[in-house]
Amino acid sequence: MQGRVSAPTPRAMRRREHQGFDLAGFSRTLWQVGQAVLVFAIIAFLIWRGAQAMEYNWQWYRVEPFFYRVIDGEVIWGPLVRGLIQTLKLASIAGVIAIVIGFVTAFARLSDSISGRIIATTYLEAIRNTPLLVQLFLFYFVLAPIFGIDRFWAGVLCLAFFEGSFAAEIIRGGIIGVDKGQYEGADAIGLSIADKYRFIIIPQSLPLILPPLTGLIISLIKHSAIVSVIAVSELTTAGLNLIADTFMAFEVWFLVAGIYLAVTVTLSIGVSLFERTLNKDKR
């Protein structure tokens, strides 16, 4: 071997071996999917049999008007759809405010300002160490009459301040997560502090912030159900009212849960697609 000199085979000429169809692997996957289906089937059966035993009268045929009715060729949205729209409105306004609060609080905690750090830390500790339900009552029974805000906005603000405290930590983590060299690179070309964050730090912390922030928005949508206790007319309230009218507790709660699930799953799929396009043009 010694003294031998050989030219490398051009990369384009090296062929990767392709394997044929992996039957054993495929049947293994199929069996596992089968197991999962079996488990779900058993659970569904147990629920159905339990309901049967307590002589529950399933009335799925009655649920269509909960969503919409057509009267004289005109579609009239039912209580569940109107509730869903209110929930989305509530959650999106609260989400935007929560993210703004999160950014302000994160920068206050990272700043040199002592008063900023004290205010931010007090806010975070107060919100995170008291129950959401108690906060909601504080907003609705104390702050709302003082500042003259209605129940919808009391609910929005309560949710925004609650989720804002978690958003603040997510955003702070994302900003700290950017490599120290990036700060120095920005400093070395003499960027102002605002430009440094705007052009260098924030864009690079977004990939770190976005996934946990999606989780936060999803939990915001779920937590928005709590404002039903102050009778804001959203999806959960609509469900409660329907049950009071129809006594169809099982059907309505399954439907309400299904609608929440559909919204949150759609949201997380949407964000993961967005992230993929975000990363694609960088690599």
Partner: protein, 251 residues
């Protein structure tokens, strides 16, 4: 080599001290760098070389003493520091390019934001420097798509786009694969030949011999020896410099 009659000091450090807590990082640093002069700073690791040049553009704050950059004193005031940083270019060991921006955007950001230059003008300037470091063809790529050597040349071009009066280099070749080092050193040598004022922390003794007007040897946060490169390499005065050189060249 150096026309001392017309030269003015661009960087003047007098009696500078720095502590990290109780640990003395720099002690009584005195150094003047004339316009057009090339100073190579060397010394064992932990000797304060990087810390010293990072104090010049205030990536590190000093606690005592005075730093003047082209006659302006460096103060802790942020506006002042931003002004100083626009006069002083810096090249890092780890490049510190902005990975989310194209090479071109990396270069034009500083001039556009700090000097109010138009995008067109900044782009022309950036392409000029990219051609000089032979990366012009890659202007539309992102930094992670380039090799280490290419990234470092981009970093040099980015610093040059600010038209700095002084260039600081903090171990610019230490993070590079061996075959990439020559390309970066060539760019630096060319820059030196064009008359740029340079302060270079490096272990590339070949570069020091070829380019440096003076070599500054540091140990334990102090300047131990300042000498012409020929004198320093052939006949170091201090024991510590002798030991350092024997370790560096001994194998």
């Amino acid at each position: 080599m150096l026309d001392t009659s017309a030269a003015r000091p661009l960087v003047e450090i007098t009696g500078m001290c720095k502590w990290y807590g109780e640990f003395s990082a720099l002690h009584d640093i005195n150094l003047s760098v004339m316009e057009g002069e090339k100073v190579v700073v060397c010394g064992p690791s932990g000797s304060g070389k990087s810390t010293m040049i990072r104090c010049i553009n205030q990536l590190e704050a000093h606690q005592k003493g005075k730093i003047l950059v082209d006659g302006t004193e460096v103060t802790p005031d942020m506006k002042n520091i931003e002004q100083i940083r626009r006069e002083v270019g810096m090249v890092f060991q780890s490049f510190n390019l902005f990975p989310h921006m194209t090479i071109l955007d990396n270069l034009i950001l500083g001039p556009m934001r700090n000097r109010g230059v138009s995008r067109k003008e900044a782009t022309d300037l950036a392409m000029h420097y990219l051609e000089r470091v032979q990366i012009a063809a890659q202007a539309a790529k992102y930094p992670p798509q380039l090799s280490g050597g290419q990234q470092q040349r981009v970093a040099i071009a980015r610093a040059l786009c600010m038209k700095p009066k002084v260039m600081l280099f903090d171990e610019p070749t230490s993070a590079l694969d061996p075959e990439m080092i020559a390309g970066v050193l060539d760019v630096m040598i060319e820059l030196a030949e064009d008359g740029m004022t340079m302060v270079v922390v490096t272990h590339e003794m070949g570069f020091a011999r070829k380019v440096a007007d003076r070599v500054v040897f540091m140990d334990e946060g102090e300047i131990i020896e300042v000498a012409h490169p020929e004198d320093f390499f052939s006949n170091p005065q201090s024991d510590r410099a002798q030991l350092f050189l024997s370790q560096l060249l001994g194998h």
